[in-house]
């Protein structure tokens, strides 16, 4: 059991314990409780409000543009944070500062484009 795959035994054991706890709780519940269903009890529970519509509700497709714009900023952040920690360290300098703004300029191109294509106006 030692060796490479041996270390996964712990994971498997944990998984088995987890399944046993959940299944055991549900089983105990079923054995102990009385079963007297009414139509009200059988409706889907949704924060105490009566459920509206069915499960395959569609979300408005036009939001995808905002998701894209969010991704633009998220990618920005991924590169900005590590850069912010080093750009004034010795060995780096003005070049490092300028390079990041060149990158930001390229990213901003996407925003400018979205603005000109009237993506940012809400109609």
């Amino acid at each position: 059991m030692d060796g490479y795959f041996g270390s996964y035994v712990l994971v498997a054991a944990l998984l088995a314990i987890g399944v046993a706890i959940v299944a055991g709780a549900l089983l105990a519940n079923r054995l102990l409780r009385p079963s007297r269903p009414t139509p009200d009890k059988l409706t889907t529970y949704e924060c105490g409000v009566d459920p509206v519509g069915d499960g395959w509700a569609q979300s408005q497709v036009r939001y995808y543009v905002f998701t894209y714009l969010y991704v633009v900023f998220a990618v920005d952040a991924v590169f900005l944070f590590p850069w912010a920690t080093v750009f004034d360290a010795p060995g780096y300098g003005l070049t490092t500062l300028v390079e990041m703004f060149v990158f930001l300029g390229f990213i901003a191109l996407g925003i400018v484009y979205a603005w000109r294509k009237r993506v940012l106006t809400w109609t």
Partner: protein, 513 residues
């Protein structure tokens, strides 16, 4: 600590990237008038030509490879040079070929976009992004750069395929291409991660040193130059990822549907530029990084090549649509290009790679010529089937003869000497390399291929169809841009037919530095 960047070396992709940004801005700020379409097309063309100029300037600057984005000497192991971007002859040949093909594709795009209905700014922007990737890829010398560049080639093509909106076939093609490409990227990334896990480096030069046993691997020890099993898995997965991109069997099934659904310029792009990028990546990984493990991948490549050429040719036999036939024929041609890689043994395989590259360069010229004529015909017919080409030589002598020449080239028959020489290069490498059986498979396939190329060529010269219920289609608005596109492609094919030594000289010496 700051890397010095040699801007002259990265100028070709840089110019293309700046042109892409410029096109996007011009599209956003210029008034939406028909003239704007022409302006954007010309800006794109100018960007490609300037980039090509830089490639030519680098080639003229001497044979010494120039590199940039290197690991500083203070941090690197002195045993190997570790650079991410190298412009040697291999890079320049591929970049030059991609950019000349790009000129043809841009010209075809001008004809495609003249009809309206496709957003022009987005089209050219995406097209330029693909070119950036295809020019960067052969210069990449580390795995991360390679994957990013390959994705840059692939991602815009999904959107380009789908840009013909409200067209069912086009959308279907885009979804198929997207799914196949994403899966292949995932497969390849997994393989790349395994290779990195073994060698502890992403630089191809260092990977090459580790896998040939010159440098001790930090991860797993090589037992007498043998990879552990996990390394074999990594090699197979990486090869499989690239096999998707070049539409090699068993990852070929997307080709016909995607080529048929996509606009014709995009099909041309897929069959030449995207394929060239895939081959560049495959050659780089196999020869620069894994040459020490040739025993693992040579049989795989040999079987892939044999299957690919056979399946492509057999499927092409039954096609009635011109674009589908070209799609399967380009799968078959992929097999011929793959074949010399299967005799590349160890680092001494420079000449065999030369045969692959020579075939690829010649294939690019003749295939683009065929696609350009198909583009011309597709404007006047709706179905674009082989029967629509009946009597083309009499209706439009220039286009008809150009297509006939390109098809004969693709078949490898005497008037089209370029195709014949390309096949001879490959045969010679196969026989000299001791892969007689592969040469035999290829010979049989060449004969099978003759049939469908000959059938199509014969239709071109057949008497014109009797005026049926639908006479000559009225809309003959041929864009002026198609003719120079045909001209360039055919001129290059004729040049290679007259002086095949040109290709050999350029490609044979392109060993890596």
């Amino acid at each position: 600590m700051i890397q010095q960047i040699d801007y002259f070396v990265i100028a070709p992709p840089l110019v293309l990237a700046l042109a892409a940004g410029l096109v996007l801005l011009l599209d956003a700020f210029l008034p939406a008038r028909p003239r704007t379409r022409g302006v954007l097309g010309l800006v794109t063309l100018a960007g490609v030509l300037v980039s090509l100029g830089f490639v030519v300037a680098q080639a003229a600057g001497g044979g010494t490879p120039r590199s940039t984005f290197c690991v500083p000497p203070s941090l690197a192991d002195p045993a190997t040079v570790q650079c991410s971007f190298v412009a040697d002859r291999f890079t320049l040949v591929f970049a030059g070929m991609v950019l000349v093909a790009a000129v043809v594709v841009v010209l075809l795009s001008m004809a495609e976009l003249a009809g309206g209905g496709i957003p022009v700014g987005e089209w050219y922007f995406l097209l330029l992004c693909t070119f950036v990737g295809a020019v960067t890829l052969p210069a990449s010398r580390d795995l991360i750069m390679l994957v990013v560049a390959l994705e840059l080639v692939s991602l815009p093509v999904f959107a380009l395929t789908a840009l013909k909106r409200y067209d069912g076939r086009s959308s279907e093609a885009a979804v198929k291409l997207f799914v196949v490409s994403v899966v292949s990227t995932a497969v390849m990334l997994f393989g790349v991660s395994l290779l990195y896990g073994i060698a502890g480096t992403v630089f191809l030069s260092r990977l090459g040193a580790v896998f040939s046993g010159q440098v001790q691997a930090p991860g797993v020890a090589l037992v007498q130059g043998e990879l552990p099993a996990v390394g074999t898995v990594g090699v197979v997965l990486v090869v499989a990822g690239f096999a998707f991109k070049i539409a090699a069997v068993p990852f070929h099934s997307w080709a016909a549907d995607v080529y048929q659904g996509a606009p014709v310029p995009v099909a041309a792009l897929l069959s030449v530029i995207s394929k060239a990028a895939g081959f560049a990546g495959l050659i780089l990984v196999l020869v620069a990084a894994l040459s020490g493990q040739a025993a693992t991948w040579v049989p795989i490549i040999a079987v892939l090549a044999a299957l690919t050429m056979t399946a492509g040719n057999l499927l092409a036999l039954r096609q009635r649509s011109a674009v589908r036939l070209l799609a399967w024929s380009s799968v078959a041609q992929s097999g011929y290009i793959l074949a010399p890689l299967a005799v590349t043994v160890t680092a001494d395989g420079a000449t065999a790679i030369g045969a692959s590259m020579a075939y690829l360069v010649i294939y690019a010229a003749m295939n683009l010529g065929a696609f350009a004529v198909v583009m011309l015909v597709s404007k006047t017919t709706t179905r674009n089937e082989l029967d629509d080409y009946r009597g083309l030589v009499f209706r439009r002598p220039a286009a008809g003869l150009a297509l006939a020449f390109c098809l004969i080239c693709l078949a490898g028959l005497p008037p089209g000497l370029a195709g014949l020489f390309a096949k001879v290069f490959v045969f010679r490498e196969l026989v000299e390399g001791g892969s007689g059986w592969l040469a035999l498979v290829m010979a049989v396939n060449t004969v099978i291929g003759l049939y469908y190329y000959a059938v199509w060529t014969a239709r071109l010269f057949a008497s014109a169809p009797e005026p049926g219920p639908v006479p000559e289609p009225a809309p003959r608005r041929t864009s002026p841009a198609t003719l120079p596109a045909i001209g360039i492609a055919v001129a290059v094919a004729v040049l290679f037919s007259v002086a095949p030594q040109l290709v050999l000289d350029v490609t044979a010496l392109s060993a890596f530095g």
